[in-house]
């Protein structure tokens, strides 16, 4: 496998605590893009806001061959729930565009259209580690690309379906558990170190905790390195991990927002904005508490 380094040129962390009624993102979307988007749903709006913010902050102009990876666990869950209710309870057929927009890759289409991309465009789902999986795939394709300066836009997008009480039920969360929506993105690539904000060191997946700890204890961690725990890692567990490893502390985002499955993207992007010259290891555990994913990056 090619040993090309992956650099991060832009990062944007966006998350919103979910409350009823649902947040109206249209003003923010219009402000970000300077134009109105018609006939799109909330999930697509989230993706467009986060990606544009990332590119606005990026040190590199986006090229038409920039690949796009959109990570999500639940995808267009609000739209899918609406149409399911419409079909089975109200016994009505969906409107054509409402049906079209619930295809998870529509957010990627609108992004590609708005950015005039002609590139690979993948929507990646995962039950516990969607962003880690998409970032891993993007880094793999960059490392093995024949292009001189391969690049990718990698985002984690998650929405809630309303009413939130039902959404908590389907997420198997407590009735009072806080929820969030998120759209956090990294603009990554290889071949241009000069404009990099950070370097993405690795993404790894482990079958169990002993595999994770064994890897981290043998890894040459740059100093100073922080550790961040994902949504399924309790504060106590994070402290225990930190004690086992040579890290300088636990990283918590300045603007903490509650649970969403692509929270990893939010944490990585926040860290890049806050901790120049520092490194981070983000660890998360799957929903059953068995498998682990870890990401490491170093801010330049």
């Amino acid at each position: 496998m090619n040993d090309r380094l992956t650099y991060i040129y832009g990062a944007a962390a966006h998350a919103w605590q979910a409350n009823e009624p649902a947040l109206d993102l249209k003003p923010q979307l219009q402000a970000a893009w300077g134009k109105r988007f018609r006939r799109i749903n909330h999930f697509i709006e989230l993706a467009l806001i986060g990606a544009k913010s990332c590119l606005d902050q990026s040190q590199l102009e986006i090229e038409a061959d920039c690949d796009l990876y959109l990570a999500t666990e639940q995808g267009n869950v609000a739209g899918v729930a609406d149409i399911t209710r419409l079909l089975l309870k109200e016994q009505e057929a969906p409107m054509p565009l409402a049906f079209l927009n619930i295809s998870n890759n529509m957010a990627g289409f609108y992004l590609a259209q708005s950015l005039k991309l002609h590139s690979s465009n993948l929507t990646i789902a995962h039950h516990s580690f969607p962003f880690e999986t998409a970032l891993d795939l993007a880094m793999f394709n960059i490392a093995n690309s024949g292009r001189a300066v391969p690049c990718a836009l990698v985002g984690g997008v998650e929405e809630c379906a309303y009413p939130l009480s039902q959404h908590r039920q389907r997420m198997n969360l407590a009735a009072d558990a806080p929820l969030a929506e998120g759209s956090s993105w990294l603009h990554i690539g290889a071949g241009d170190q000069q404009h990099a904000l950070a370097r993405c060191e690795w993404v790894k997946f482990f079958a169990d905790e002993s595999g994770l700890l064994s890897f981290l204890q043998q890894a040459a961690l740059p100093s100073p390195t922080y550790l961040a725990g994902g949504d399924n890692i309790s504060d106590e567990t994070a402290v225990n991990f930190a004690a086992d490893l040579n890290v300088c502390g636990i990283y918590k985002c300045a603007n903490h927002v509650p649970f969403h499955t692509t929270h990893c993207a939010y944490t990585l992007a926040s860290f890049i904005g806050e901790k120049r010259g520092r490194s981070l290891i983000h660890i998360n555990r799957d929903k059953r508490g068995r498998r682990y994913a870890a990401v490491s990056l170093s801010v330049i």
Partner: protein, 389 residues
């Protein structure tokens, strides 16, 4: 960069025309498959043609999604002759549009039937649940990927798995395409006026829409040649790779130039020239706009002397996100029997297409085969598989 050859080591499929490669090849050899029908609830329209899995009732949502996945996956693993150790590290790549929506619909229907009108429409959510299910059932510690790119989902799963095996990152991969009958897809395609009232007739002048179908396909790809399997053991097939590119202009029907571009990119990625392609398995949905764009795109790239091409949707219907895997398996089952299947339903030349698919099966003695898949959201993927020389 070290490039490994990526062999197709085993396949398993559950489709409207059978669950064995032999049965599928026999139907395709005969060149005819008649769809069943399905009635859209709350609709006064006539029943629509539909390619249901064998033995299925007219229930609008398939209640046995996981059982069908098990059949396809177990069959592929058996066919590949994977060892217990290989299975325990097997990465899983799933491509699907609807995921487990058929199961979710069945559950919600059950709740409504029992007067639980406040039940949530989806009792759980997450598009990665099928990959998680397969990994758990196999007790594999391999990585899992799920691709949701509309009708190119399965093709993208196969493409990315191929790249990882070729690069030496993984030794084997299980690629699964899943699409089972659900009301959402049927009603959605119907409301978009994309469904044919009677027949699936790819590239025919009188084509009027596609016919949906359900299917689950599983392919094991590997750095290792098939050994114990009877699947083309003498002259194994292998995946060369391909390309995925987005047409960011047209949301439901790609422009022909974008189709030509993804085919050209696939040829570049596989170090092939147009003349190296012996046969094309077209996407061939039988919708007026898609088929003419695809035909024009192929002609832009290959010229008017197109390689022989066929569409498999008249045999199993359009299996949406699964078609990249299901149709690859059908094609391989036929190639193994040394023929390329014809395109049933084609009778009348269409000038907007300007080309004619195979109307008779074609003898096949090896070479490079292109497999094209195009999805909503302009998501276009072109793959190439080949025979061992």
């Amino acid at each position: 960069m070290v490039k490994n050859r990526v062999f197709i080591r085993g396949c398993g499929v559950v489709s409207a025309i059978g669950t064995t490669q032999q049965a599928i090849a026999l139907t395709c050899h005969n060149g005819i498959a008649i769809p069943g029908s399905t009635t859209l609830p709350h609709s006064c329209e006539q029943p629509l043609p539909y390619y249901a899995l064998p033995g299925k009732t007219d229930k609008i949502s398939s209640p046995d999604l996981y059982k069908q996945i098990n059949i396809a996956v177990d069959s592929a693993i058996h066919d590949a002759g994977l060892t217990v150790d290989e299975i325990s590290h097997l990465p899983v790549f799933v491509g699907s549009t609807a995921g487990d929506i058929s199961d979710l619909e069945s559950h919600y229907q059950h709740e409504l039937h029992h007067a639980n009108v406040d039940a949530p429409p989806l009792y759980r959510c997450g598009f990665g649940v099928l990959a998680e299910y397969i990994i758990d059932r196999l007790q594999s510690d391999g990585q899992q990927f799920t691709f949701n790119t509309a009708c190119s989902s399965g093709a993208n799963a196969l493409l990315m798995a191929t790249r990882m095996v070729a690069a030496g990152r993984i030794a084997n991969a299980l690629v699964v395409g899943v699409e089972t009958r659900n009301q959402m897809s049927l009603q959605g395609f119907n409301t978009m006026l994309l469904l044919a009232a009677q027949h699936c007739q790819p590239f025919d002048k009188d084509r009027s829409g596609t016919v949906l179908g359900e299917g689950i396909g599983a392919i094991v790809i590997s750095r290792q040649k098939p050994l114990s399997s009877d699947f083309s053991a003498a002259r194994p097939y292998y995946c060369l790779g391909g390309a995925n590119l987005t047409d960011s202009v047209n949301i439901t029907s790609s422009d022909s130039s974008k189709i030509a571009a993804v085919i050209a990119q696939a040829l570049t990625e596989t170090n092939l020239h147009p003349a190296d392609i012996k046969v094309i398995k077209a996407h061939g949905t039988s919708t007026p706009a898609n088929d003419s764009a695809e035909a024009q795109g192929m002609r832009q790239l290959f010229g008017d002397e197109l390689p022989p091409f066929t569409s498999l949707k008249p045999y199993v219907g359009h299996t949406l996100g699964a078609c990249g895997v299901v149709e690859s398996i059908i094609m391989l089952a036929c190639l193994k029997e040394h023929f390329v299947p014809a395109t049933p339903g084609f009778t009348t030349f269409d000038e907007t297409c300007g080309c004619t698919p195979l109307t008779q099966r074609l003898p096949f003695d090896g070479g490079n085969i292109m497999l094209n898949h195009f999805g909503f959201g302009g998501n276009n993927t072109s793959l190439v598989i080949a025979n061992e020389p």
